[in-house]
Amino acid sequence: MSEPSVELDGLDAVRVTIVLSNDDVAVTGDAAMNTIVDIHQALQRAGDDRFPLVDFMTEDELASDADLEPEPSF
């Protein structure tokens, strides 16, 4: 999944979410960074200078907010 461009702290970026099936092995830092570099290079080859902000989540994580701390009550 990707979202329209965002500008973060002066950086033009595109958010990319890679949805994994629940059975997939957890993504390592090495795998994540290799994917990010591949996407970054591919964007440039296509003439797109935006930086890819890539997140990985499973189908369950996409659907769930289960591990969020409750909103503060003060």
């Binding site: 970026a13 830092g29 990010i36 970054h40 440039q44 080859r45 997140d55 591990d67 701390e69």
Partner: protein
């Protein structure tokens, strides 16, 4: 000079995201973990720069301190973005290999950019809700960035650090 050990910053991040006795981890802890992951890469870079141009043997000197403290967050990010370009800007062409930086430096550079953005959001974007997996991902990416920087071709690393110290005009 008490150099900040990047491994300690990652270990600090690990402790911050450890599951508490009950309930989910605190937002402040998850955010601080993301911040620590970024600062690990930042201090890795600053120390490498000062070691290169002053020398690790002089870590107690004011000159080392001056060079270490000269590293600017925006300058690091901008250079990392430049290093990741498939075609460098004209003023960089005389100072970079025609092949560009290798895979290790590209991974380090993208890790720095991503974590700097994430750090800024973690510290200031109060409307964002952080999950444990956000912090876990940041820490993992940071550790990979550090490993790749250390594994990079020494000539490329030296080239990068020289450009950081002396940006082309």
């Amino acid at each position: 000079m008490p150099i900040l050990n990047p491994n300690h910053l990652f270990e600090q991040a690990d402790k911050l995201i450890a599951a508490p006795a009950s309930g989910p981890p605190r937002q402040v802890d998850l955010r601080r973990a993301v911040s620590s992951a970024y600062y690990a890469l930042f201090h890795l870079t600053a120390t490498a720069l000062a070691d290169e141009f002053v020398g690790a043997a002089h870590r107690g000197s004011s000159r080392y301190d001056l060079v270490h403290r000269s590293v600017d967050h925006r300058a690091v990010k901008d250079l990392c973005l430049t290093a990741a370009k498939t075609s460098p800007p004209p003023k960089y062409v005389p100072y970079v290999s025609p092949k560009g930086f290798g895979r290790d430096m590209l991974i380090y550079a993208d890790a720095v950019v991503e974590l700097q953005v994430k750090r800024h959001q973690a510290d200031y974007a109060v409307m964002e809700r952080y999950r444990t997996r956000d912090a876990v991902a940041a820490i993992a990416k940071g550790r990979t960035g550090m490993a790749r920087f250390r594994a990079a071709d020494p000539n490329e690393r030296r080239q990068f650090l020289t450009l950081l110290l002396c940006p082309p005009r």
